[in-house]
């Protein structure tokens, strides 16, 4: 373990934790506003799982950073340029269709990626991944089924889902845009290089989207800049403005 570059390891763990933090936040925005009570409750369960995973990932990040911070400090006291989440998860919810399709696109990746992390050379990573893997398997089952139902539903629901896919598709590629951090993690046996998972991912989402009668856009252009923090969307700042407000306005308080 000593030879693992701690800066790269921190970066890697932040990528996991910021994804779940930001997506959990987005999903929690639905509470009280979903199309039907059963969905309201299910979305809250997903958000709760993601918040729980965030506590573990950001707790580990704080430990690796070694400056006496807590998971909450990591969530509430970093600025937008410190965040390492995918652009996909910070996009606004849009309608229910876009929210559930984004969830599916993210779940599909997690369902492939997390089981591999359970074999991580870092037992702390393996342990978090083991817990998250079970939750994510269920998220995927649910989001995939809903995507199929809406894609292959009424004329309107089909049109809305296709619109959502067209909108979200350019944000899918970033999941596989690996860099030196991923290579360092692969070499140290911490986690696989996501670039190598694209084929499996395409097969998985291809099956579901075709059952949903949705057409994957041909343009393979991918927006990037979230997972390396180079350039987020404008939306992240607004999300943080809300999420971090109390901690920023009343620093040092216990809540």
């Amino acid at each position: 373990m000593a030879q693992v570059d701690q800066k790269a390891l921190l970066e890697f763990v932040l990528r996991q934790g910021d994804n779940t933090l930001v997506l959990g936040h987005r999903v929690s925005e639905w509470c009280g506003h979903a199309p039907v009570l059963e969905e309201d409750i299910a979305l809250a369960n997903t958000a709760l799982d993601l918040i729980g995973q965030t506590q573990m990932w950001l707790g580990l990040a704080a430990e690796i950073e070694g400056e006496g911070h807590s998971a909450d400090d990591m969530a509430y006291l970093r600025d937008a340029w410190d965040f390492r989440n995918l652009l996909l998860v910070e996009l606004p919810n849009g309608d229910f269709g876009r929210t559930i399709l984004r969830q599916f696109l993210f779940d599909a990746f997690s369902a492939i990626y997390l089981p591999l992390l359970t074999k991580s050379a870092d037992p702390r990573v393996a342990e978090i991944a083991a817990k998250a893997t079970k939750e994510v398997a269920y998220h995927l089952e649910r989001s995939a089924q809903t995507v199929v139902g809406l894609g292959d539903g009424s004329e309107e629901s089909h049109a809305r889902m296709q619109e959502a896919l067209d909108y979200l598709w350019p944000y899918v590629g970033e999941m596989f845009a690996s860099d030196s951090v991923d290579q360092a993690m692969a070499e140290a046996g911490i986690g696989p290089d996501p670039a190598g998972l694209r084929a499996e991912y395409d097969a998985l989402i291809g099956r579901v989207l075709s059952e949903a009668t949705l057409r994957i856009p041909e343009d393979s252009f991918a927006h990037k800049g979230g997972r390396n923090g180079y350039m987020h969307t404008e939306h992240l700042g607004h999300l943080l403005t809300q999420m971090q407000w109390l901690q920023r306005a009343y620093p040092g308080c216990e809540w």
């Binding site: 039907v36 009570l37 059963e38 409750i41 299910a42 369960n45 079970k134 269920y138 089952e141 649910r142 089924q145 139902g149």
Partner: protein, 94 residues
């Protein structure tokens, strides 16, 4: 008026339970979704359990007037209940 999702009755067997028990109802467009909804609404996702869902309209119930005939005979068979038997203390737990 627009059509509503059908109503489903939910039965759950917990980790240590022997039988599926009726826990409540919910709405869902189909059986598959009803199972997922049941998991989200009624289990808050405990593991190792089993869920049955039945569309409410498929459940046949005994008519209220039958209450007497259906249940009274078994009420008289008190010997089916363990407390019917006096076992001497010396025998120990039985």
């Amino acid at each position: 008026m627009k059509k509503e999702w059908p109503l489903w009755e939910v039965f759950i067997r917990g980790q240590h339970g022997l039988n599926h028990r009726h826990v409540g109802s919910l709405h869902a467009p189909d059986a598959e979704t009803a199972i997922l909804n049941a998991r989200d609404v009624y289990t808050r996702r405990n593991e190792g359990l089993s869920i049955w869902v039945v569309e409410a309209r498929h459940i046949s119930a005994s008519a209220p007037g039958d209450k007497g005939p259906l249940f009274e005979p078994s009420e008289s068979k008190v010997y089916r209940h363990p407390t019917f038997y006096d076992i001497p203390k010396d025998v120990g737990h039985m």
